[in-house]
């Protein structure tokens, strides 16, 4: 299967038909759910970018163009599995049914923020929803995911870990630690590289070097590797299911390179116009994952323009409602941000004397 690291696994062809050996893992209802997940994510991103312009949050990062990767992967995971995500996998939470309002509470750092205003917006955490606390430091989460998976195996558990990293961050040395440990201990983990072709202003080539693909990195460690069309919801689900099943049966790790494209800016602090041709995003390499899944459903006769319009209106309303509810709990610059008195908690399980003294000095 070595060539699978150099080719591109696809199911949805240009006509929108599902073809080839990887097709057939999803029924129509599941396809519709997937479409709704992706529409919800895109609507959510859209709303939060607007909230940022309105000063309700200090920062935001969208997943425009990459919706299929996290959304389809999440639907292939089972309860109890643990993701070690980056800041661009909000699709895992949305497809996993995590309340939108909780996400926005975190983004607004408001009085209901589950992270108590401590974290940069989008740095979510939810153990219950299998989403490990996002780190601002690139790459550290990969080896942690391998450790979590090793622990699951040591405990005789069947839960698996799913590790996430971007193309640029694969250059970080921690990536190597993850590969070595995953290989040596045959940990039940899926190692996901989201190759959206850009790392802020730097093209994927700087991290990939002269190697043909990121997936090929797996071979040096004897780790099976797949390279998959990440804008093809059906292919993402099929490949994810295969790798997750391998891990669950304790047959070892799988490395998957998801080929996609960062259609938007890196973050609200970034303007791609400065470093990449504006037509590029227009051409949208691999196509819009939402359009592709929609066309497929239409080809199957299971979806119409009308259905689509209704669905869009639906998710927009859901997102708007969540945003309004969150806003009622405050936004970053409103008075009801989470209380600073809590900023001395959770440094340790129990507050040591020096922090108690400092909290008093701070006036709490």
């Amino acid at each position: 299967m070595l060539e699978l690291a150099y080719s591109l696994v696809r199911v949805l062809d240009d006509e929108g038909d599902a073809v080839g050996p990887w097709s057939g893992t999803l029924d129509v209802e599941q396809l519709k759910l997937g479409l709704i997940d992706m529409l919800t994510l895109r609507s959510f991103d859209h709303r939060m970018l607007r909230a940022h312009r309105q000063g309700k949050t200090s920062f935001y990062m969208q997943a425009l163009g990459e919706e299929a990767v996290a959304c389809a992967h999440r639907r292939a995971l089972a309860p109890g599995d643990m993701n070690f995500p980056t800041y661009r996998q909000q699709g895992l939470l949305i497809a996993g049914g995590y309340p939108l309002v909780e996400m926005i509470n975190q983004i607004y750092s408001n009085s209901h923020d589950p992270m108590k205003g401590r974290q940069l917006p989008v740095m979510y955490s939810s153990k219950e929803h299998g989403f490990f606390t996002v780190s601002g430091n690139l790459g550290t989460q990969m080896i942690q995911a391998v450790g979590w998976a090793m622990a699951s195996a040591l405990a005789g558990d069947t839960k698996i870990a799913s590790a996430w990293i971007g193309d640029g961050a694969t250059a970080e040395s921690d990536f190597h630690a993850a590969m070595v440990f995953a290989s040596t201990y045959q940990a039940p983990v899926v190692l996901n590289i989201v190759n959206n072709q850009w790392a802020i202003s730097t093209f994927q080539g700087f991290a990939r070097g002269s190697s043909a693909t990121f997936a090929a990195r797996g071979h040096g460690f004897g780790i099976p590797a797949l390279r998959v069309d990440g804008n093809d919801y059906v292919a993402v689900h099929a490949a994810s299911s295969w790798a997750i099943e391998r891990a669950r049966r304790n047959l070892g790790p799988t490395l998957i390179e998801w080929v996609t494209y960062r259609a938007g800016a890196h973050s609200t602090s970034d303007d791609p116009a400065v470093y990449r041709p504006s037509e590029e995003a227009g051409r949208w390499p691999l196509g819009d994952p939402i359009d592709r899944l929609k066309n497929h459903l239409v080809r199957l006769g299971a979806w119409s323009e009308g259905d689509h319009a209704d669905a869009v209106a639906d998710v927009d309303a859901k997102v708007l409602a969540a945003a309004e509810q969150a806003e009622s709990f405050g936004t970053l610059h409103s008075d009801s941000v989470s209380s600073p008195s809590t900023m001395f908690d959770d440094v340790f399980a129990a507050m040591p004397p020096n922090l108690r003294r400092q909290r008093q000095q701070a006036g709490f």
């Binding site: 401590r118 940069l120 601002g136 430091n137 961050a169 250059a171 700087f206 070097g209 900023m343």
Partner: protein, 337 residues
């Protein structure tokens, strides 16, 4: 001279150093075509070509490790770590290698490199875009640690750093990039153009390491600080009406012990202030040195005003940041002590 911002002064220092010495090269994440996320290297690639200013993969240890090898070959790399918070993956190369190579090879190999990194909070960057790790460098023998508080010093000190034959950690208070921020985050930003230290000479000049700068002379107490808090201290002095002598250390290693000892011996009262976490921060070293050199002239214990012993919290950064109110209160209390 036209006034320069800190960013323009840092850019200019790169230009001057690269013009004079073509062994000076610059690289780091997004520093090439893009010119760096804070634009500090903008224009260098266009001017000097992509052999002397280029992008690097996202691997801080790789950036510093490669720079060490280049230094051993005979180049003078000046590299950028995108945020000081991301220097940890490079910490082994900095501490075990850059700082030790001259010593362990008895001078056979040297590491004439400069490692720049934006430091400090105040931009709602949360705990991974706000850190001040200077004390993690000052404890390491073989490293020099520099932190400018204004455009004039930034240019002169950076040229000195690049021309220095040993590894230099160059910390850039990111909240000062575009103006002399005094901690009043609720007030409009004051541009550098209104500040005398934005008057930056053209061309080459250096500022020797180990010479603190008396930023504001005074008699009632001494405030020892560096980086952003230099401007916070000025605000606190004005607002409390306390005639404080504010000293900008500029370089932590080497440390200008004479200047600070003289000042504290004169005023008898001292506050050391920094943004970094209190415990084992560089303020502790200053207290240790000063209680030794000035104990008998101290009217009261030296007071440390610093960031709390917590990570830098996003929404609460102004509670974390030692601003003019906190510093001013400590100054008032010290006058009464």
């Amino acid at each position: 001279m036209p006034a320069m911002t800190m960013i323009e002064a840092i850019r200019d220092a790169h230009h001057v150093a690269m013009e004079r010495d073509d062994t000076v090269i610059v690289f780091g994440q997004d520093v090439g075509f893009f010119g760096g996320v804070f634009r500090c290297t903008q224009g260098l690639q266009a001017r000097f070509g992509d052999h002397r200013c280029f992008d690097a993969p996202i691997n801080e240890g790789g950036i510093v490790g490669a720079a060490i090898g280049m230094g051993a070959y005979g180049l003078r790399p000046c590299v950028e770590i995108q945020f000081a918070d991301y220097m940890y993956p490079a910490y082994d190369q900095i501490v075990s290698e850059a700082a030790r190579v001259r010593y362990r090879s008895a001078g056979d190999f040297t590491v004439p490199i400069t490692i720049r990194m934006p430091t400090g909070g105040g931009i709602f960057g949360g705990q991974t875009h706000s850190q001040s790790p200077e004390a993690l460098f000052t404890h390491v023998s073989g490293l020099k640690t520099v932190i400018p508080s204004n455009p004039y010093d930034a240019k002169g000190l950076l040229i000195t750093a690049i021309e220095d034959d040993d590894p230099v950690i160059f910390l850039e208070p990111k909240r000062l990039y575009n103006g002399p921020f005094d901690g009043h985050h609720d007030r409009p930003i004051v541009p550098w153009s209104r500040h005398p230290l934005s008057d930056v000479p053209a061309g080459h000049y250096t500022i020797p390491f180990g010479q603190a700068r008396i930023h504001r002379p005074g008699d009632q107490m001494t405030v020892l600080t560096y980086g952003t808090l230099v401007h916070v201290a000025v605000a606190a002095a004005e607002e409390t009406g306390i005639d404080a002598e504010i000293i900008d250390l500029r370089t932590l290693v080497p440390l200008d012990i004479d200047t600070i000892t003289e000042s504290v011996a004169k005023t008898g009262r001292c506050i050391v202030a920094h943004e970094a976490t209190l415990t084992s921060g560089f303020g502790a070293e200053l207290c240790a040195v000063l209680q030794e050199s000035t104990l008998y002239s101290l009217e009261a214990p030296i007071v440390r005003v610093a960031g709390w012993d917590t990570p830098y919290p996003h929404a609460h950064e102004w509670t974390y940041f030692p601003g003019p109110a906190r510093l001013g209160a400590a100054m008032t209390a010290l006058m009464e002590a």
